[in-house]
Symmetry: C2
Subunit: 333 residues, 2 copies
């Protein structure tokens, strides 16, 4: 990690709470924090359809406090936030499709629980430093590319509407109540420990499962452009945002690789794997209604303000992911 | 009403549900609908801090169905929406200050209940025509004036964040599920039947109470510019939006008078009343944090698309309000 000396001085011996800490990005972040010497508490609900699994923190069971509970349990929150120096707030419902079939659950987790967490901080630990995981989904279908932080916010699904409310509470509590928060809008994050059993977290997960199972990858459409952030780069954005006062009260896009089409991504994945094939399929109707078309993020603001840059190429990212799941796939199905 | 012949052919004999129908704008709208010959059901919670009071529908007790219940009661909603031709959806928590001291209640009413109402429509009456009452509050502090519908959305309080989620669900359900909804963003609406016992609905209410009680009006700041919509004009915007297919899926600012400063408004109110006085006070600190500064709306879009224009001058509006509360003040304290 390019900033590991700085991070070590910031996080060593500090108390850190990670919601969604058994999930994909959360668990990778927890691994970094443990290496840096933080005293880490993980809160995760282990809802089967979400990203959390104990496997993600395998080997760290005695080095972090793992509390299985749901951020919707409002009475538990004061207990968790009291005495913490940092909160990496990653608990969330991520499936766009699930948000449309069960909108109230998405609202409970992505909006209501966020407000409860912030109220708990305001009342019980107003000095805590928070970094919140938001999403490119709140932009909706881009008016222009790459999408910067000034782009209009027009979410195309219930998930996007509720995540927008969730990030807005964080900024409001900063402005009005002085809660020290930063919002990171993530694009397509990929890496070891991502959900691969279905597309609830990212379609790339399903592709990995298919290619390693010897089945053809199904590419829907194929022409859509996307950028990808390797999870170690994303974790570094969280640590850097928490370390730098310049990030206080800010919203940053966390971008990634230069954009590639889904077809190019499939070709690259087959090439890096050394075997496999893909088929192009037309886009299913129910997904088309909430699809955002091409998307890639302009991340010049986070580079300018706190010096974050993505370091990992797409080829390296895919090689790392394939390497991990060649051994671990059986534990993620 | 300029469109009364059109409205009569649209609404006569039709079944209409008005949530918040005992409130300020809701009750004025219900009065118009009864005159037009609609079969009206009112749902209102009569929460004491909100705008609803039975006095607002005095004389109509035998002409409308009044159901005292809360839109948060999710199981009651299918019963209400079934068989209705129109839904004027005005139930809401309106106090900016209350949204900051009790953010979860604001979320429950302005976001969660709205999603429940839309789900009830989708499942039990997908052909219903909905007009939703949103607010200028979702724009936050203006970048430019007058504020049009393309202005960035940066709410400055919890109320604005939740109302934004509420209106976003309405538009999303139109786009994805074909629910026929229109969003009206209201500015400062004033008129008979507004709440006057405190500033939870509008500061103008308190001014009316003070001046009619022979007490000096307290003007906070005084330089801020505001526009005002007379409630009959606002009610006409709801009826017109429901009548015109051109309004489907649209967001419209409902504007009003040319902007005046609060000090000018106080001077005019004293002049129209023929007696009274006001004092200028500095803005209280807790309100300053969520104040939006100058605001007035650009309403050219609703004029162009469906022909709505405000018809009532500020002088006439204030005269009507004073006339109403000279008789009725005792029933609103």
């Amino acid at each position: 990690m390019p900033h590991s000396a700085e991070f070590s001085s910031v996080f060593r011996g500090r108390r850190v709470l990670v919601t969604g800490g058994l999930g994909f990005i959360g668990s990778n972040l927890v691994r970094s924090l443990v290496e840096l010497g933080s005293d880490v508490t993980v809160v995760d609900s282990l809802i089967p359809e979400y990203g959390g699994t104990l496997r993600n923190l395998a080997g760290l069971e005695n080095k972090v406090r793992i509390n299985i509970s749901d951020v919707r349990d409002v009475h538990s929150l004061p207990h968790f936030v009291r005495g913490q120096d940092y909160l990496f707030n990653l608990a969330g419902q991520t499936s766009h499709m699930d948000s449309m079939s069960d909108p109230q659950t998405d609202l409970e987790i992505n909006a209501r629980a966020q407000l409860s967490i912030l109220e708990a901080c305001r009342l019980h630990n107003p000095g805590i430093r928070i970094v919140f995981a938001s999403t490119r989904q709140i932009y909706g279908k881009p008016d222009y590319l790459p999408v910067d932080e000034k782009h209009p916010l027009r979410p195309v699904d219930v998930n996007g509407i509720n995540k927008l409310a969730g990030e807005s509470y964080h900024l409001l509590y900063h402005r009005v109540h002085g809660i020290r928060s930063t919002v990171l809008r993530l694009t397509n994050t990929i890496g070891p420990r991502m959900r691969v059993k279905d597309a609830r977290q990212t379609f790339v997960g399903v592709w990995i499962k298919k290619i390693l199972s010897g089945e053809p990858i199904e590419v829907w459409g194929g022409e859509q452009l996307r950028d990808f952030t390797y999870v170690d780069d994303a974790a570094e954005a969280f640590l850097l945002a928490a370390s730098r006062p310049e990030a206080l009260g800010e919203i940053f896009n966390v971008g990634g690789t230069p954009p590639v089409s889904l077809k190019q991504l499939a070709e690259l994945l087959v090439a890096v794997n050394g075997a496999g094939e893909f088929v192009l399929r037309s886009f299913p109707g129910d997904r088309k209604k909430i699809d955002i078309g091409d998307f890639y993020a302009d991340y010049r603001l986070i580079t300018a303000k706190i010096g974050w840059l993505p370091a990992t190429s797409l080829t390296v990212a895919l090689a790392e992911i394939l390497g991990y799941y060649r051994k671990e796939l059986v534990n993620y199905l």
